[in-house]
């Protein structure tokens, strides 16, 4: 064992735990009593942003079962009586799957493309949650607040995404799968 064995191990564990911990933090932050107008309304969508952002580079560190647990936790913490528990989990899993299957359009491309991708997926997420909540409680829920949330989180994305990207930028494993053979000029392969 090398002299820096312990540090290297901690480093590796830290790297592996980082996406999950960040996601957990944002799930808890959803409930924080921030009284900033608009911003506090958009907090429930930030976990979806984290899922999207980390799925771009290191989806293997946000495994599906973890997303399931986090989504259910979010629903339990946030949900009112009668709201479906697990709809966020479904949304997270689908976001991850969509990102992983469309890596060629989302990884190593200009930021605007990523933003556009996030706009599409977040819209899908909002519509999914709205539909299931309305369907589950069988009430016509005004979609306007949900769309307002969506608009705010879209605006927040350029502020938050670089921060999260910086967290993983120094990651040596932040390279596309060699086996996929989809690396393009500008990307590095190991």
């Amino acid at each position: 064992m090398r002299a820096d064995g312990l540090l290297a191990m901690l480093d590796r564990w830290g790297r592996y735990a980082l996406p999950g911990t960040t996601l957990l933090f944002f799930v808890l932050l959803t409930l924080a009593p921030l009284r900033a107008p608009y911003l506090s309304g958009a907090l429930p969508l930030l976990p979806a942003l984290v899922v999207f952002q980390f799925s771009l580079a290191t989806p293997e560190r946000l495994p599906g079962p973890l997303l399931l647990v986090m989504g259910i936790l979010l629903d339990l913490l946030l949900g009112g009586p009668g709201a479906p528990v697990g709809v966020s989990a479904l949304g997270f899993v689908l976001i991850r799957a969509a990102v992983v299957n469309n890596r060629r359009y989302l990884v190593g491309v200009p930021f605007l493309f990523q933003w556009f991708g996030f706009c599409l997926l977040a819209l899908g997420f909002v519509v999914l949650v709205w539909f299931f909540t309305a369907f589950w409680t069988w009430t016509a829920i005004d979609p306007l607040p949900a769309l307002m949330q969506y608009a705010v989180v879209i605006v927040i994305y350029p502020l938050l995404a670089p921060l999260l990207a910086r967290v993983r930028a120094r990651d040596p494993l932040n390279v596309p799968d060699a086996s996929r053979g989809t690396a393009r000029p500008g990307e590095t392969t190991s």
Partner: protein, 298 residues
């Protein structure tokens, strides 16, 4: 070389197959969770309570600095309008002093009348003061999390009030946490009285900042500016907590009510322990049960 390529192709196919299968399983699991939540609401309520109890210490740690920051911002805002506020308050003070005199006189009179009529008062309410440690405000829910729970005597269905008026009712209780459902939530239905006419009605939330007054016997009697107070029907709420005032009588049947409580600036609230919580419907001749040990203020 060709063999290796073939192997890689097969391997990637297997991998994508596994991935696809995994996705299907995860989706099924998510649906399963939703179905279980629909079928077994008690289990879900229990899970919610456990999650709340686990999260509430973390939230409390987050809530304090956030509250401090909010307060600084509010202070700065108030600083700008200090002079006008002062003048307005002085004027209001004069007006309220006159009211106080009237109220004292009425209170005395009331007491004497009650003595004459041998009127038995309802159980006396006590208050549990709580800090709001979390907002559960989203596009679908209007509520908050409190840092008190069953240990402090909080029970499901109790009224939650602010200085201005009713905020909501307790929806879920954990050991050291509780969730408030605000009156503005779409699931909130509140039996109320119109103070001026003593007419009964139901006040319903619809997730918008204003409330909707429904099940009125006659809409015509409602005027703009009428105060809405709790009627105490259902038993767990004291009578006469102010809830809001009518701002729009509207055409047709929609009467809009603005709640007195300012939900954007809540920090501390009081849970009203009325001693008869849990009594919903049934006979109205209440025998005041022994109130649980709470932090008594009154």
């Amino acid at each position: 070389m060709a063999i290796r390529d073939d192997f890689e192709i097969v391997a990637s196919q297997v991998r994508t197959a596994v991935q696809r299968f995994a996705l299907g399983l995860l989706v099924i699991a998510a649906f399963g969770a939703m179905l279980v939540g629909k079928a077994d609401t008690i289990l879900v309520e229990h899970a919610r309570v456990v999650a709340l109890d686990l999260a509430s210490p973390v939230l409390e740690a987050i809530a304090r600095p956030v509250a401090a920051a909010n307060r600084i911002i509010a202070d700065l805002k108030e600083f700008a309008s200090l002079r006008e506020d002062n003048a307005r308050l002085r004027e209001e003070n004069v007006r309220l002093l006159a009211w106080q005199t009237a109220a004292r006189r009425l209170e005395n009179e009331n007491e004497r009348m009650r003595g004459l009529a041998n009127f038995r008062e309802g159980p006396e309410a006590s208050f549990i003061t709580a800090r709001i440690v979390g907002d559960s405000v989203s596009a679908y829910v209007r509520g908050a999390l409190l840092n008190v729970g069953r240990k402090a005597g909080v029970a499901s269905g109790q009224a939650v009030v602010t200085g201005e008026g009713l905020a909501g009712r307790i929806a879920e209780v954990g050991e050291n946490s509780a969730r408030v459902l605000f009156v503005t939530d779409v699931n909130s239905r509140l039996p109320v009285l119109i103070e001026r006419t003593r007419e009964r009605a139901i006040l319903a939330g619809d997730n918008s900042p204003q409330l909707r007054l429904s099940l009125l016997q006659s809409v015509a009697g409602v005027q703009r500016g009428d105060r809405i107070v709790t009627s105490g029907h259902g038993g767990s709420f004291p009578v006469g907590i102010p809830v809001g005032e009518v701002v729009d009588t509207g055409e047709g049947s929609s009467v809009r009510v603005r709640p007195f409580a300012d939900f954007s600036r809540l920090e501390f609230v009081r849970v009203v322990d009325y001693g008869v919580s849990g009594l919903v419907g049934g006979n109205s001749a209440t025998t005041p049960s022994a109130p649980p040990a709470g932090v008594r203020i009154r």
